[in-house]
């Protein structure tokens, strides 16, 4: 055990030394930005805008080294490694990035919820005039307040009654409202799209003729599909024990399901490998500059 930790320490030190050596020579992990000054028409306000520049553009005019983005690049690369380190075992680096991730993503979700939900949806519709003057100047002049949005405001405030020591039961009202709405809305949508339409597309002729002759390929395909759908449905029966005649049919249904799952699994592998490839490309290209895909 001790030997292996020593080995790991040596590997870490070597890798760290290598990174420091290459960075100090300007051979990796540096970000550049393109600087442009923005001066909108009909206004005396001015600001500088920074946009991403590739390392090839480094010597060009207006392109300069960026501290904040170089730090960002290193943060991104190191947190990528920290997450991957979880594969070896739980460790302090993973714990730190996990904590940062939970905190930052919760904060991000809330900020987005505030701007998109409260400002862009609620306030924009409830107080368009005020929003036009302050935060969303692009609201057309002809937009007027939509008083229906009072309802979600009331529901939202009622939701917060949970924070009060005694008013928690009021918070059940908005919850009940949305449970009811969800149930009603989903009931019809699922019944239509996933029940009726699916039955409709399963109605196929079992014997098909193409150009006047028997088309055994399509016929076989249609028969298989219909047998498959019906036998899987039999598998899902709850109120009948799977014995007697039901047993072989439901067994056939399970086989169909297993083929479906196997196919789904095999199909997904490609996507997952692509994601890993993208991450490694980021490390090798953007950070380590070992390959160049820019």
């Amino acid at each position: 055990m001790k030997n292996s930790s020593l080995l790991w320490l040596v590997i870490f030190l070597l890798a760290g030394g290598y990174l420091i050596f290459r960075t100090s020579h300007g051979d990796m992990g540096i970000s550049y930005v393109k600087v442009t000054t923005i001066s909108p028409e009909k206004s005396n306000v001015q600001w500088t805008q920074y946009s991403k520049a590739s390392k090839k553009e480094a010597g060009e005019e207006n392109v300069q080294f960026s501290w904040s983005r170089t730090i960002g690049l290193w943060v991104a690369a190191l947190s990528t490694l920290a997450i991957f380190s979880f594969l070896y075992g739980d460790n302090v680096f993973y714990k730190i990035s996990e904590s940062v991730f939970i905190g930052a993503s919760a904060g991000y979700a809330m900020a987005v919820g505030f701007w998109d939900g409260i400002v862009n949806l609620l306030l924009r519709n409830l107080t368009p005039g005020l929003m036009r003057e302050s935060i969303i100047p692009s609201i057309p002049k002809e937009n007027h307040a939509d008083w229906f949005f009072i309802i979600p405001l009331i529901l939202g405030v009622a939701m917060l009654a949970r924070l009060l020591p005694k008013g928690g039961w009021i918070a059940r009202w908005p919850l009940a409202f949305f449970i009811g709405a969800t149930a009603g809305f989903r009931l019809v949508v699922f019944f239509h799209a996933d029940f009726i339409i699916q039955i409709q597309s399963t109605i196929l002729p079992l014997i098909v003729f193409t150009d006047g002759s028997f088309d055994w390929q399509t016929s076989l395909k249609n028969i298989t599909i219909i047998i498959g759908v019906l036998s899987c449905l039999v598998y899902f029966f709850f109120s009948v024990e799977h014995t007697g005649i039901i047993r072989p049919i439901s067994r056939l249904g399970i086989w169909f399901l297993m083929i479906t799952f196997g196919a789904g699994f095999g199909y997904t592998v490609m996507g997952r490998i692509a994601l890993l490839a993208a991450r490694l490309e980021f490390l090798f290209s953007d950070w380590l500059w070992l390959i160049d895909v820019e």
């Binding site: 997450i83 979880f86 739980d90 714990k95 990035s97 996990e98 991730f101 939970i102 905190g103 930052a104 993503s105 919760a106 991000y108 979700a109 809330m110 919820g113 939701m159 949970r162 918070a171 059940r172 919850l175 949305f178 709405a181 969800t182 149930a183 989903r186 009931l187 019809v188 699922f190 019944f191 029940f195 009726i196 039955i199 409709q200 399963t202 109605i203 196929l204 002729p205 079992l206 014997i207 098909v208 003729f209 219909i226 759908v229 019906l230 449905l233 899902f236 029966f237 709850f238 109120s239 009948v240 024990e241 799977h242 399901l257 479906t260 799952f261 196997g262 789904g264 699994f265 997904t268």
Partner: protein
């Protein structure tokens, strides 16, 4: 010397072939392409205007037959688009919209009920060619409808399926015993909690990553309340990290009630049900961390899951937990099936709360659900039978009467009862 002449003749022939090739290709490109030759294009034909059914009288459908110069292959097609113009009793023709080639209808959604509208369609060709306008002789009048007749049949089928459920709930309440087959994953719940108790470790329940406006989440929470009853009985800790604030609220209500009904209200700890973050992978990172540190002996994943399914299941596997999963996300089922001990497949997730509760009216609803499946199978069998008969009748020419009646029954089933037409002829 001989070699020399061979090379020479080779060179010559190469030059000749190259010149020939050049000439051929020149010839090809020099020939004027048919598009350039064309100076006029055929207009569209037979315009008809119909009221769009099932709306408040705000739209009309304008249909026409494609121009003869409109081909499916865009390289050969002279027509590239159609322009639609509209006039009312008071105004002249005004440009309305453009639709692309091969499209033979346009839905005007800016009409007022009971007004008259006339339409004009002009085919537009390459090089700014325009056909002569095709005008509608009779105006179209949009009609206001309060009931969407296209959804009539769906309404009937829905009412029928729902009443089956209600009927069996009623039957069950009256005391009729109902049988339910075994669902292995659910029988294992108690075993899993029992093992966690024996080992002195906790249980983990993940109610999916969607909010309470998804039925799967609600189904997950109802299962949670039954699992919580078991953990309350065994006095085992259960942690429930949630991905949404509202799910946290709802889960707390459910678990508190469960502990109360198990007679252990003091064992309930609100902080065991906590909010992590709304972000999918932040949530997963948090749960993974909890798993490897707290090492729960039983993990339940019930609700809507996306890519995190395998991340959770494999981490659970690495700590040796019993894992029971259930989801109605078809794309994630393979991973749960491969990596968990028990998986509730699709519909079984929704059946779980009834199964676990064992209450008669809940079991009744399951029976109703089964009759829904019978209805589905019956519709498929009827539809397929008539589709097959009509195919056979068509091939062996059993007589036009039989042929057309088979095919019209099949069409009625798939287009009216199950399709877009509904009560409309």
């Amino acid at each position: 010397m001989v070699q020399h002449s061979i090379i020479k003749s080779c060179c010559k022939s190469v030059v000749v072939i190259a010149t020939l090739l050049l000439l051929i290709t020149e010839g090809y490109s020099a020939e004027p392409s048919p598009v350039e030759k064309k100076t006029s294009i055929q207009p569209a034909k037979n315009i008809t205007i119909k009221d769009y059914p099932g709306d408040l009288g705000t739209s009309l459908i304008i249909e026409w037959e494609l121009s003869e110069d409109d081909q499916n292959d865009p390289k050969k097609s002279f027509v590239i688009a159609y322009e639609v113009y509209r006039k009312t009793e008071k105004t002249e023709y005004k440009f309305l919209s453009q639709v692309t080639y091969q499209k033979n209808f346009y839905r005007d959604q800016e009409c007022e009920p009971d007004k008259k509208y006339w339409y004009q369609v002009i085919a537009i060709g390459k090089n700014n060619l325009q056909s002569i306008p095709l005008e509608s002789l009779n105006p179209g009048i949009p009609i206001l409808q309060w009931f969407d007749s296209r959804r009539g049949w769906i309404g009937i089928l829905m009412l029928f399926s729902c009443s089956l459920v209600v009927y069996f709930i009623w039957i069950a309440r009256k005391g009729k015993k109902l049988k339910i087959r075994k669902i292995a994953g659910l029988d294992a719940v108690e075993e899993a909690v029992g093992r966690a108790t024996e080992m002195g470790s906790s249980c983990l329940f993940v109610p999916g990553i969607l909010d309470v406006n998804d039925i799967q989440t609600i189904a997950g929470i109802t299962i949670l309340s039954h699992v919580a009853e078991v953990t309350a009985e065994y006095e085992t800790d259960m942690i429930v990290p949630t991905c949404r604030s509202l799910v946290m609220t709802m889960a707390r209500e459910a678990v508190e009630t469960a502990y109360l009904s198990a007679g252990k209200p003091d064992a309930y700890n609100e902080d065991d049900i906590y909010y992590l973050t709304d972000e999918q992978f932040g949530y997963v990172a948090g749960i993974q961390g909890t798993m490897v540190r707290d090492k729960p002996a039983a993990c339940f994943y019930m609700g809507a899951f996306y890519a995190e399914s395998l991340l959770l299941a494999e981490t659970g596997n690495s700590i040796g937990a019993i894992q029971i999963a259930g989801t109605a996300m078809p794309s994630q089922l393979p991973f749960f099936v491969a990596a968990c001990d028990y998986t509730l497949i699709g519909e079984e997730l929704f059946a779980a709360s009834a199964y676990l509760s064992g209450e008669p009216d809940q079991l009744g609803s399951l029976k109703g659900q089964d009759y829904g499946k019978l209805l589905c199978a019956a519709l498929i069998i009827i539809g397929c039978t008539f589709a097959t008969l009509s195919s056979l009748a068509n091939h062996y020419q059993w007589g036009t009467g039989m042929e057309s009646s088979f095919s019209s029954i099949q069409t009625y089933v798939s287009e009216n009862i199950l399709g877009e037409k509904g009560f409309r002829p």
